[in-house]
Amino acid sequence: MNPGDTLRLILSILSLSLIISSAESFTGIKIYKTAGWLSWDRLKYDRPMFRHRMVAPLLNWLFPHPKILILITSRLICSVWLLVAVLVNWNYTALIISLTIINILFSLRNAFSNNGADQLTNVILIAAVVASISAGNEAIVVYSLFFIALQTSIAYFTSGINKVNRNWLNGVYLKDVLSTAMFGNPMVLRKFRKMRHAFWSCSLLMILGELLLAFCMFFPSTMSVYILAGGFFFHLTVAYIMGFNTFLFTFLSTYPAIYFVSAHGIRF
């Protein structure tokens, strides 16, 4: 696959994540209301920047409910449009710039509730903007793919290496996490309890898997395919057990970049 097609594949998967996340924001709109969990009346005091005289008028106009719906609607429309544009091969430069600005604003609004997938989404979008505005310069598209792959590797490496401690390695933390209703699943927990070494072996497998994924782009493409397939299965399992649906699509969207780097390397 050439760099342009790889970027389009990345954006098509990422747009699915953005569509789902925007649609979820519609159904959970009450959290943005006054006296909701993410009420702007309170959150505007979270950072001095929110009250800066240069930006405060815009944020105070756009961020409270119901005007936040403008942001959510634009995000949804741009995401759907992006999906169509990449599938039918339209020029999406203006669209990706708009979506990136909207997404950064939305992340700012959700600063208190963002997760790793939201952060990685911004990183991918920024790289896509850089690649899009330099249309015709294939080298820059390649750098952008390398950057996306590198950021994903940092994500996996940070997550994996920080789990190298006693309680993760012996499975205590995994058992604790799976014992919560928020992140666990009763059926999985029951099955794990029946197996003697399930917690520590799964915990160890997860850490090794994350570290392997961190270095996946340095493996030959024939091997990286299998590692990425394992990564997909890992994210699918995590999404099913823990409900991290946007992680699944966001991380999956970076896999074409990892595969591309693994297959081609970086050429200056």
């Binding site: 979820e24 924001s25 959970g28 959290i31 006054t34 006296a35 909701g36 969990w37 993410l38 009420s39 009346d41 309170r42 005091y45 950072r47 920047m49 950064i104 992340s107 959700n110 208190f112 509730s113 963002n114 790793g116 952060q119 990685l120 911004n122 990183v123 920024i126 790289a127 850089v130 310069n137 080298a139 820059i140 750098y143 952008s144 950057f147 590198l150 950021q151 940092i154 994500a155 996996y156 940070t158 997550s159 920080n162 789990k163 401690n165 993760w168 933390y173 604790d176 996490v177 799976l178 014992s179 919560t180 209703a181 928020m182 666990g184 699918l236 999404a239 409900g243 991290f244 649906n245």
Partner: protein, 172 residues
Amino acid sequence: MTVAGYIVLGFYALYTILTIVVQRAGRAKDRIKKLDILNLIPNYKFFCPKPVRYDYHLYYRLVDKETVSRWQKIRIGRKKTHISFLWNPTKKEKKVFNRMVQMIKDNYKGKQRTRFGHMYLTLLDVVRTEIPQRGGKDVQFRITYNQALRDKPVEKIYYTSIVHKAQSPHTA
């Protein structure tokens, strides 16, 4: 390589260095995070080094001069379903509540405070909004924790607020 290529490479190199620095706690991270007003430098410490290991629950009770009601639970979000791997709209409120619990641990737990930060007040607003009919009574909230999927989960008290006046600026 073109000039544009060098600029882009420089930009990506800087972004990558900042990302790597931010993954480690320390003064450099604090400085970068202070400058990163748009929240663009990611922190990838998912569940590390210590994950969230408990379910937290929110309760309220109404208080007046003569009576104190029973603790009533406020449901936060919905239970996960079989399609949560695709559709999980209530994860945000659970995440915010969990962050508030952490904030309470850092700022209020075991301390006598008379002034409250905006996140504490958000929690109080949510509690006040969830109460159907307060009848002018004052309100107190409590956070408990357990591991809900354990065989016999026992809820332990994590934090009990002081009694707050009935009136909320939003519902006044």
